[in-house]
């Protein structure tokens, strides 16, 4: 029996099955890992006050458990757990995390008064509130509702400040810069314009007014502060202006926690990054990715479709077409970094450099287009995704039954009309599939962008309220690069890790969704054409 089973080839089939199932598990496992780690980032975790002994001393620690591992205790040799606590308060201790062995923990309690402050700088703060002060005089003991009220006031002021800084002053600065360039352009041509100086004066007075407003606001926002006791009993003073959010996770019920969870998630998606990208939101990265991908689709779609039309409808099927097909396939196989190198050399330095010399001599030696930027990034990615669009479109064109074309031609339509009125509309879902696949590929590609336009922190978005609104020469932030940068280049990788997982989750979600859409769309199409053919 055993022998026949061995000879029947069944063992090999099981091995084959095992390989496939490994692949399936790997995919599922990866998605689950990212999802769990990414989503748990936003949950307001329990904060513990832990008594532990260390060198015969009893000490206290306040923090949340973020990791657990099993080790062999150094003395007993038994397998014990040790916990990684996030203790925050980086400015006081110099580190965010602390490992504690299970054996050393004497007692732990989730005291409801424990408070977590998310701050603009130095990461989270953990401690007990002592009192609230206005202009350094105590106005209340640890009253949670008063704190929230005051925080709301700070938030409103902060928004006003941001509006003035970003919007009003930003706009003035932009206009001043344009004036400077205009003046220089005129100077290059040997002319001058008295109006420029006038306009500059007006702008500068406006600027000073805003500066005054800002000064008042900044003073107002500094008014309140709170005192809190940290784990070693020390009392610290924290100005409310440095606090983003305050909450008492142990005192919250599940509903409140859920609300905070989604608030956190929203803040993450819509906020600006802080602390060298390791905290805050990723909105500029989302925005940059989306805009870049949209620009890319604008470039790749017409070229891809025209190339596919040529290959399928116009070219005589001979050696040339065969060569083009192989070339297209090769284009798909060329490593993405090679596109990056090509883009940097050809687009940025060659094309961009020449454009600058021709059209923007007033800005030189500061480059306008002769430096990496969103335009070049989208062009490079368009080149990179061209094969995807061509292959998908060709497939769509090939599936349209001959009879339809012949019918149209027989009725006297020209080839162009047949294509425009009959073939392309029928193939449009296939074109969409190609585009979606191209977008999915482009959204996840990072390597070439590192050379042609992505930066870790862009001062302004490539799209804003200043004429000409879309700034193709600007550098931008990108989700994929954000992951690389925060995960590998930031000074405090440990603290930034949850944020990287959350970013990765967002990117994976977008790409998997795009792909699944394209796949179902394509499958439905195939079924439809099968029905048409029969």
């Amino acid at each position: 029996m055993k022998k026949t089973w061995w000879n029947s080839g069944q063992p090999w089939i099981w091995l084959n099955a095992g390989a496939l199932s490994l692949a399936l598990i790997a995919v599922a496992g990866l998605l689950i890992l990212i999802a769990v780690r990414g989503l748990s980032h936003f949950w307001p975790a329990q904060v513990l006050e832990v008594q532990y002994h260390h060198n015969q001393q009893n000490l206290t620690l306040i923090g949340e458990i973020v990791d657990e591992e099993h080790i062999f205790a150094s003395q007993s040799g038994e397998l014990i757990s040790r916990y990684l606590f996030k203790i925050g308060n980086r400015e006081l201790d110099g580190y965010d995390f602390k490992w504690l062995d299970q054996d050393d923990i004497i007692d732990q309690a989730a005291i409801p008064e424990l408070m977590v402050l998310e701050r603009m700088e130095w990461g989270n703060f953990y401690g007990n509130m002592v009192n609230i002060k206005e202009n350094n005089t105590v106005i209340a003991e640890s009253d949670w509702s008063i704190l929230q009220e005051r925080l709301e006031r700070v938030e409103q002021l902060r928004q006003q400040i941001r509006k003035i800084e970003k919007h009003d002053i930003g706009s003035i600065n932009y206009q001043l810069e344009r004036l400077r360039l205009k003046e220089r352009k005129l100077a290059l041509a040997g002319k001058s314009d008295a109006q420029i100086e006038e306009q500059r004066k007006i702008l500068q007075t406006e600027f000073q007014q805003f500066q005054l407003q800002l000064k008042d606001l900044r003073q107002a926002i500094q008014r309140d502060s709170l005192s809190a006791r940290v784990m070693d009993g020390q009392i610290v003073n924290i100005p409310l202006v440095t606090i983003v959010k305050a909450y008492q996770p142990n005192a919250m019920n599940i509903g409140e926690k859920l609300v905070l969870y989604f608030q956190n998630m929203w803040a993450f998606m819509s906020g600006e990054p802080r602390e060298a990208n390791t905290e805050g939101g990723i909105f500029p990265a989302i925005f940059g990715t989306v805009l870049m991908v949209m620009l890319m689709s604008l470039f790749v779609t017409p070229f891809g479709i025209v190339a596919a039309l040529y290959l399928r409808e116009y070219a005589r099927q001979g050696l040339l077409v065969r060569l083009i097909r192989i070339a297209v396939n090769n284009l798909a196989g060329v490593p993405s970094i090679v596109y990056g190198v090509f883009g940097l050399g050809f687009f940025v330095y060659f094309l961009g450099g020449n454009l600058d010399a021709l059209f923007f001599p007033e800005a030189l030696p500061a480059p306008t287009f002769g430096t990496p930027g969103i335009l070049w990034s989208s062009l490079v990615l368009a080149l990179l995704t061209l094969p995807v669009v061509i292959v998908a479109t060709e497939e769509g064109l090939a599936r349209i039954p001959r009879s339809l074309r012949e019918g149209s031609l027989a009725l006297g339509a020209t080839k162009a009309e047949t294509l425009w009125r009959i073939v392309l509309p029928m193939a449009s879902p296939a074109l969409m599939t190609g585009m979606i696949l191209a977008v999915a590929r482009a959204a996840g590609e990072v390597a070439p962008l590192m050379l042609v336009g992505v930066v870790k922190l862009a001062p302004s978005l490539p799209l804003d309220g200043n004429f000409p609104f879309l700034h193709l020469d600007r550098k931008f932030m990108h989700l994929g690069f954000h992951i690389y940068d925060v995960g590998f280049q930031s000074p405090n990788v440990e603290a930034a890790r949850p944020l990287v997982y959350a970013t990765a989750l967002l990117l994976v979600l977008v790409i998997v969704l795009l792909n699944l859409t394209a796949i179902t769309w394509r499958n439905r199409l195939r079924e439809k054409y099968k029905a048409l053919e029969s």
Binding site: S8, L20, L24, A332, V334, V341, Y484, A504
Partner: protein, 730 residues
């Protein structure tokens, strides 16, 4: 009627127009591809060009012969020191003298020593030496570039007494920095002297005071014709006319003779340091120039070693090294000059300049201008265009003996902090890293991709396709930045902590599959689940995986003394990097698996049914049919799947960038990292200066990647198309 014709014309015109438009669009795709290739080539090609040299001016100089020649940054003003002790600054284009300063020496000049870039020491007949430095101060009054030559005395104005016996100095060498000064000399009666000083600035005025720290003397038994002192004041090198090279170490105030070696040159005519003061260049009367530098032997002692040799027709009269690179120029008694580069072992230029012997050469600091003076006191001004001397086929792909290395090696080290750095631009370690990464990726991807494809194409129940296809396509679409980030931040530390478990897993999984399969035949409902094996195995894998990883710690305690990593290092002598080839293999294997899977599955699935049915009808089992009929028929497709996968693994950037340490080591060890061509480009490209050698070498790396993947993909594609034709004809 006319209107109808017009419409007709209009339609036809539109038709024609679209035809052209689409034709142009199609052809532009080909153009785009060739553009990538040609642009890369266009950037790379200048690397291999020779130097271009143009004779700009030529005129006779007035007065005495020159003992020293030097040149300003832009090549507009030069300095020469006459044998009678006059410093003359002159305009390069026309020879007009700008400034002339007699040095008023108490005795005649017997020898001239230099310390690049701009220090001159004159050894006199009375045993004293004068040390001076020239400078060109550049200012822009009224936007006009104005150069003011300046002479300074960095060691103080008074002459320095070198020989207490006041014998005439035959040879002189000097090195100094902010604090320490060393002067070596050989006297007429063949004593080798070495004096060390400390250099201090007087508190009251800016006067510099030298304080003698040591003075040693050694009587030599031979005639020395060149003397060189190393910049760190530890070694003295001397040459004799008969071809002997000696090395003296300066140890605790003593000159110790260490080594005498025959260079094999018949008669040494010139000797000097290359930039950095490590390599010696020695020219002889046969026209060969040897490069020597000290190499540590097994006992840790320095021994001079001949590294390479250059030739320039006949007896070498003078040598000069570039100020910022390891290049040099040489001239001979026939009036030939040559420009060379040491690391790449290249002669970049050779030309006859004069009928007479050339006596002196000088490079401008940027190496863009070269001055030469011949025996008739004629000055030649040459404009040199020599941008990329560092690169040769050998420098890129062969073992090179770099300065301070014990033997020739493949090294990639493109930049360093100090100016004397010798760039090491061997592409071998990067190519090795690329292949290593791809190899380990294939080690994981081929079994999983191919075996999985076989199961999916031939044994899988059709409804299961609904799960498998989208999953694999999702796998293919996952951005590599995510895989790399997980590999670097999650997998690498995890594997490090669970090493025994990971290796057990590799062993246990196949055994587990077989064992479970064997048990399955006793399961009553087994036939119902035929084709669902892959799904049935999921819990098995999860359980085995959980078990192996949970048992990892105890196993580590039991077999590896608690720490497998340490055990590897101590018992097997293997270095362990946290981000290593194993991690890269898993992560990149994950990225490549779907490529292999899809193409192989397509090839196996499209094997004509009548072949399979025929085989089955003849009584073969399904496995026999697969091995004897299906796989041979589909083998070209499988081959092309593997090639495509390999091509993808070779070009992958983000995963290797994040999951390895990016150190360019050459070791196949699975526990060590690597640096690949692609990751190297990603790391270094943003920092490289446009059109520099480094920039172009990175383009060359990209071109190598392009050609490599182009070759692999084209072959794979042609095989695939052939196979498709074969199937359709069957």
């Amino acid at each position: 009627m006319f209107a109808a014709i017009n419409i007709e014309r209009h339609r036809l015109r539109k038709d024609r127009w679209l035809r052209y438009f689409v034709g142009i669009g199609g052809i532009s795709v080909i153009i785009a591809i060739t553009l990538i290739f040609f642009y890369l080539l266009y950037v790379v090609l200048p690397l291999f060009s020779s130097a271009e040299v143009e004779l700009q001016h030529q005129y006779p100089l007035q007065g005495e012969q020159s003992a020293y020649l030097g040149l300003e940054e832009q090549g507009t003003m030069a300095v020469r020191v006459n044998t009678n002790g006059t410093v003359i600054f002159f305009n390069v284009p026309d020879g007009r003298i700008v400034d002339q300063q007699p040095l008023n020496l108490p005795a005649s000049i017997k020898t001239v020593a230099t310390m690049p870039p701009n220090v001159i020491a004159l050894g006199l007949a009375n045993g004293q030496a004068l040390v001076m430095r020239y400078r060109f101060e550049i200012s822009y009054p009224n936007d006009q570039r104005t150069i003011a030559p300046i002479i300074e005395y960095p060691l103080g104005v008074p002459l320095i007494d070198i020989d207490p016996n006041q014998q005439s100095l035959k040879q002189l060498a000097i090195q100094f920095d902010e604090d320490n000064v060393g002067i070596a000399a050989v006297t007429d009666d063949n004593r080798l002297l070495f004096s060390a000083f400390t250099r201090e600035q007087s508190l009251f005025d800016d006067e510099i005071v030298l304080e003698q720290q040591a003075s040693q003397m050694l009587t030599l038994d031979a005639n020395i014709n060149h003397l060189l002192l190393k910049a760190d004041l530890t070694s003295i090198y001397t040459t004799q006319a008969n071809g002997l090279l000696s090395y003296y170490a300066i140890n605790d105030d003593k000159i110790v003779h260490r080594q005498q070696i025959a260079t094999g040159q018949s008669q040494i005519t010139t000797a000097r340091f290359l930039l950095g003061g490590i390599s010696l260049l020695i020219g002889d009367n046969q026209g060969t120039i040897q490069q020597w530098f000290p190499v540590r032997d097994q006992q840790g002692n320095f021994q001079l070693q001949q590294i390479r040799q250059f030739t320039l027709a006949s007896s070498i009269t003078t040598l000069t090294s570039e100020h910022r690179r390891k290049g040099f120029a040489a001239a001979n008694d026939q009036g030939d000059i040559g420009i060379f580069y040491s690391t790449s072992h290249r002669r970049l230029y050779q030309q006859k300049l004069s009928d007479k012997a050339i006596r002196a050469l000088a490079f401008s600091p940027r190496g863009k201008h070269l001055l030469a003076i011949d025996d008739h006191n004629t000055l030649y001004v040459l404009k040199v265009n020599n941008e990329y001397p560092e690169i040769s086929w050998a420098a890129l792909w062969e073992k090179i003996w770099y300065e301070d290395y014990q033997q020739p090696a493949y090294i990639w080290q493109s930049s360093a902090a100090d100016n004397d750095f010798e760039p090491k631009l061997s592409l071998v370690p990067l190519s090795f890293g690329t292949l290593k990464g791809a190899f380990y990726a294939m080690l994981f991807a081929i079994p999983i991709g191919l075996l999985g494809a076989i199961f999916a194409a031939q044994f899988m129940a059709p409804p299961m396709r609904q799960i498998v296809k989208p999953t694999i396509e999702t796998m293919e679409a996952l951005p590599t930045v995510i895989l790399g980030f997980l590999a670097g931040l999650w997998l690498a530390p995890y594997v490090e902590g669970h090493l025994p478990g990971v290796f057990t897993l590799l062993l246990v999984l196949p055994i587990g599959f077989l064992l479970f399969g064997w048990l399955w035949q006793y399961f009553p409902l087994r036939n119902r689940f035929d084709g669902w094996q892959a799904l049935i195995l999921v819990p098995v894998i999860l359980m085995l995986g959980w078990l192996s990883l949970e048992l990892s710690r105890p196993m580590e305690q039991l077999f590896f003394a608690g720490d497998m990593r340490q055990w590897l290092e101590q018992v097997l002598g293997l270095d362990y990097d946290q981000r290593n080839a194993l991690v890269v293999g898993v992560a990149m294997g994950f990225a490549v698996t779907p490529t292999i899977f899809s193409i192989a599955e397509d090839a196996i699935f499209s094997v004509p049914q009548h072949l399979i049915r025929g085989s089955l009808a003849l009584g073969a089992t399904r496995w026999q049919t697969l091995v004897k009929v299906i796989l041979p028929t589909a083998s070209p497709g499988i081959f092309s799947a593997i090639m495509m996968g390999f091509g993808r693994a070779v070009g992958e950037t983000m995963i290797v960038l994040m999951a390895t340490g990016n150190t360019a080591v050459m070791d196949w060890s699975i526990f060590e990292g690597m640096r690949t061509l692609s990751a190297n480009i990603a790391v270094e490209m943003p920092e490289s200066e446009v059109n520099s050698t480094h920039y172009r070498v990175l383009f060359l790396a990209a071109l190598v990647l392009f050609l490599f993947t182009f070759l692999f993909n084209t072959v794979a594609e042609i095989i695939r198309q052939r196979l498709r034709e074969k199937f359709s004809s069957l």
